[in-house]
Symmetry: C2
Subunit: 206 residues, 2 copies
């Protein structure tokens, strides 16, 4: 498939292009995007090609077409409705993050095992008991599950998501999930980002 | 320097090795680690070599030595004391995360611009006014700053961190920070992880 580093950069292009569109720019060149983002213009062209778009000579890209091409590739032109399980510290932060709508993510319901949380409304999202997930996932055609429960509960909750029909899991827990090969799992590993930071700092401190 | 993908995998090795150490394993081979983590044993050997350690024929690695080598390389054998600025939803989640101590991170003070938050204690961490950051950073020799303020405030707060003597910024805001070249910046871009998930889902939905 498309190279992951290119895919991960696409949201930055999108953010910049939306700003340019707001300022009335009808067309934009690789060089312009490259200069703004600090990439080479060769890399810009390769990254954008991943979405299926090819620049026009002298013109570059039509801003609106390029935005549509990136959004279409990422699936961000349709809201992706998602469920979130585990309304603790991290779950709460994600529920409160309005910018996810700019990235096509719409968290429509949340679930928790703690009876004191069930029935509450957090950041405009209702918290249900976990056993409600099956009927709601089916009725609402939910494909994305966000997993923000503790490590000890993560595998069982992931299995329940799969049984409920969820096809992609955004995994914030530190464990490697065992799910069928057809299920998409994207792991968020903050400790990997931290490792890069502290190793570079340790290196400069030598 | 060392390849970033290898560095990012090191915390997974560490987590597994600590479990093995608890179960009394004195030595461990590349093959064993590879099987457990789903990597090739060639990749395991290359990743671990980044930390300066070389396996012994037939033995593999002494568990305790390997753990020490990884922790030393990552700088996780000394607690890295950090300041956090922006005690909102994300800042709160990070302050409450006990596992950061397993990754060598110790958040010793937090700062916020909101007078209603200043003076409060959140997850055992006191919240100070931003102007206190200079004297505290100097007194406590803080090298790491965690940036969890809104996009509009991120650049100015980053500049204040640099002026306060902070040398590495863990940036959770969506903007590209402008700081001196000597300052280490590690960006956490959740939308990049989300882009990989939704693009793979969009691809399977075609
Ligand atoms: N907080 C952070 O900054 C941070 C950073 C990196 C990774 N993580 C990971 O994110 C996850 C959540 O962390 P947190 O700090 O928010 O934890 P937390 O303890 O604050 O929240 C966990 C929530 O999950 C709920 N829960 C527990 N078992 C459940 C189950 N079986 N079904 C449904 N809900 C259940 C709890 O009631 C609680 O509301 C953990 O796996 C953690 O390792 C958190
Ligand atoms: N919440 C999430 O899940 C999430 C996800 C991805 C990225 N982020 C990023 O993390 C950052 C924080 O997000 P959030 O949801 O926690 O926001 P938030 O609005 O809940 O919290 C921001 C905090 O920063 C403080 N603040 C504002 N200006 C300040 C200044 N000049 N100096 C010191 N403190 C200041 C506010 O008082 C508030 O406490 C944002 O840049 C956001 O884009 C958040």
């Amino acid at each position: 498939g498309a190279p992951l580093p290119s895919i991960r950069r696409l949201p930055q292009y999108l953010q910049l292009l939306r700003q340019m569109q707001t300022k009335g720019r009808i067309a934009v060149s690789c060089t312009h995007l490259a200069d703004d983002l600090g990439f080479t213009s060769t890399q810009v062209r390769k990254d954008l090609a991943v979405t299926g778009i090819i620049g026009k000579p002298k013109v570059g890209y039509i801003t609106e077409e390029l935005i549509a091409s990136i959004e279409n590739f990422l699936g961000w032109n349709n809201y992706s409705d998602a469920f979130l399980v585990g309304v603790g510290n991290m779950g709460n932060a994600l529920l409160g993050y309005d910018d996810f709508r700019l990235h096509g993510l719409n968290i429509v319901a949340a679930f928790d095992a703690n009876p004191e949380k069930i029935g509450k409304n957090v950041h405009n999202c209702e918290i249900f008991a976990l056993d409600k997930m099956y009927e709601l996932a089916e009725r609402m055609h939910i494909q994305i599950g966000i997993l923000t429960v503790p490590a000890a509960a993560a595998q069982s909750v992931a299995s329940e998501m799969v049984l409920a029909g969820i096809r992609a899991i955004w995994n914030f827990s530190p464990i490697a999930l065992e799910v069928p090969d057809s299920i998409i799992v994207e792991n968020v590993r903050l400790y990997s980002s931290l490792a890069v930071l502290t190793s570079r700092l340790a290196n400069t401190n030598k």
